[in-house]
Amino acid sequence: MTQSRLHIPHPPARPGETPDFSYLRIPPAGLAGRPDILAPAEQIETLGTGMVRVLDEHGQALGPWNPHLTPEELRVALRHMVLTRRFDERMQRMQRQGRISFYMKSTGEEAVAVAQALALRPSDMLFPSYRTQGLFVARGKSLVDLMCQCLSNTRDMCRGRQMPIMYHWAEGNIFSISGNLATQFPQAVGWAMAAAIKGEDHLAASWIGEGASAEADFHHAMTFAAVYRAPVILNVVNNQWAISTFQGVAGGEQRTFAQRGPGYGIPGVRVDGNDFLAVYAVTRWAAERARARGGPTLIEHVTYRAAAHSTSDDPARYRPKEEWQAWPLGDPITRLQAHLIALGEWSQERQAALEQQLEGHVTECWKEAVSYGTLSEGPTLDPLSMFADVFAEMPPHLQRQREQLRRLQQQQATAAAGSDAVGD
């Protein structure tokens, strides 16, 4: 056999091996400088190689990126993060119980979505991925609504048309989640271009995983954003894994994902994605830059997908079980909590009370949600509604098909009644 030369990227450890995150260079908190919001991209390239970090291992907020939020703001943030996690856990359990067909947790990544939602204005438009449910939570979408979507029930915002987690919220300015990876990235740029064309002050933000950054949409988003200097924040959530493939397979072995930015003339900022304060601060910086006509920013969030990819996945097949424990950037909730405690603004007792309260809230919400129906029980959506919204007005061929289904259902009902009658 010839000696082959195709390089194959490997994760640092596979099942049975010891987790190893030595490939990550983690600078101390507080070290990174905070450049002027209008600094030219080429002058701030180190933002893409280092890592913006604010919270140190003692819960102290350090350095120029400290956003100096009030304790109340921090407590609100903590609450959203904990609620997101409780929500995820409940839904996963409900999937295991067969109540919903599918679920995807964001465990370990809650800081990204929650901090960014809070750092942006409500009028800014968010183009989410399937692992940024924290955006909905932080913007105040009721959990009942999210649960109803997962249940495809009578209150499902998608009217039963999408798998669980494919939420949207028009009034809350959160776009629809697509099952197709990355498509929302250049759409966000188009939205931002429209805002600029209209002379409006809103910006768009979008999220994809590091794995999805290999898709064409990443390149289109970057190119259009750079060319038109669109007011948009493009986030790559690098949680180290894309289902079973390590971030090296997506191209993260030699360079950071933030470093893709400068090649397009877009600043690339790499941030400790488990550091709520750092994510918040970097997002504010990018938002101010965009609103000051500084154009787009690419943000790479370094984080870790603590849970399975989805309820269909078993990560024990491809990575060490202990990786999450070994993850050097910790748990974003624990870290924010530690910060609040260090500030004297929080305690283990208050945390326990919060957890309990939110757990109760989630239970309440679930009870309410299932009262609107589940996939198998209770009030259900009218199947005939499946023909609506293909077009703004239903064209004749769909009317005919709807009529056909209606008749079929009638016949089946009659037949069932008939056989019931016979059975009686």
Partner: protein
């Protein structure tokens, strides 16, 4: 009424809509300063400014994605794909996103995007400047698909497309941009100014999507076609000397089944004609539908006259093109069969 060729009619539709509706934006490769490689957007950037008529990077997927985002943000984007042959890089954004956005959000989000693309052969463009991919898009739920056959329809249909709430794929048969074409490349070119369908109102008017047009009434057979082939079919009917009814489908989705099937039920014979390749082309759907609805009236098999099932070959354009002779032969076959 003004005389316009199809390029001018399309330009006029865009002009009218840019003028009437500040939400309309027009963009694509070379459409801005230059006015488009076929000149369909000529003068529009000068008139409406660079914020509303703009050049894009060469990335069809990016163009459609940006159009979707703009549509969601309240604009009415009209994107040009320079040749229909280059629409495939945008396929995922069109099929997975644009077509399904309203559905998947139960109407909460939608993007009223119009995508214009010159299509079809007859210009010695070879396999990458001659394709007719409309059939593919007719299989995608949520898209309207239009192909006009003359300047008057082009303008009225394009205005409807832009004004409508649904995404529309608007295919422009480039062979008839400058004049009708009867399928004989050796005849001198005929300009639109010598055809009544080249008379186009200057201002705003709309031709509703979803309505076919009987271009030539007749009783011996029905020819169902669209785009360039409408004119070729007219020539074929003259050539065959058969009193066929010719129907210009105009809107492929939603399809005006009633007009087509009323005609076929009347004539009992049907020839379907398109430039696109035959296998699984739009003609298959037309045939299947007509067969379902008119079965008891059919007196001969429905015939399809189409491009052959090969890529569009540069040197054999006229052997490939489903010209009047082939259509006439099919007309004879469907009308003689029962003799």
């Amino acid at each position: 009424m003004a005389q316009m060729n199809m390029v001018q009619a399309i330009n006029s539709a865009l002009d009218v809509m840019l003028g009437r509706d500040p939400r309309v934006v027009v963009f694509g490769e070379d459409v801005g300063y230059f006015g488009g490689v076929f000149r369909c957007t000529d003068g529009l950037q000068r008139k409406y400014g660079e914020q509303r008529v703009l050049d894009t990077p060469i990335a069809e997927g990016g163009i459609v994605a940006a159009a979707i985002g703009m549509g969601v943000n309240g604009l009415r984007p009209v994107a040009e794909i320079q040749f229909a042959d280059y629409i495939y890089p945008a396929f995922d954004q069109i099929v997975s996103e644009l077509a399904r956005l309203r559905y998947r959000t139960a109407g909460d989000f939608s993007a009223p995007v119009t995508i214009r693309a010159p299509c079809g052969g007859g210009i010695r463009g070879g396999q990458t400047h001659s394709q007719s991919p409309e059939g593919i898009f007719t299989h995608v739920c949520g898209l309207k698909v239009v192909m006009p056959s003359n300047p008057r329809d082009a303008k009225g249909l394009l205005i409807s497309a832009i004004e409508g709430e649904d995404p529309v794929l608007f295919f422009e048969p480039k062979r008839i941009y400058n004049g009708p074409f009867d399928g004989d490349p050796h005849k001198p070119a005929v300009p639109w100014s010598s055809d009544p369908r080249g008379e186009v109102p200057e201002g705003h008017y709309a031709i509703p999507l979803g309505k076919a047009e009987i271009v030539r009434p007749g009783s011996a057979a029905t020819v169902i076609t669209y785009g360039t082939m409408v004119h070729v079919a007219e020539a074929a009917v003259r050539l065959a000397g058969i009193d066929a009814e010719i129907i210009d489908v105009r809107t492929l989705v939603p399809l005006d089944v009633d007009t087509l099937c009323t005609s076929v039920c009347k004539t009992g014979r049907c020839v379907i004609v398109h430039e696109a390749t035959r296998f699984s082309g739009f003609g298959a759907e037309l045939s299947a539908t007509v067969q379902e609805q008119c079965f008891w009236h059919l007196e001969a098999p429905i015939a399809r006259v189409t491009g052959w099932d090969t890529p569009y070959p540069h040197a054999f354009e006229w052997e490939y093109f489903p010209g009047p002779a082939r259509i006439a032969a099919a007309l004879r076959a469907v009308t003689e069969r029962d003799a």
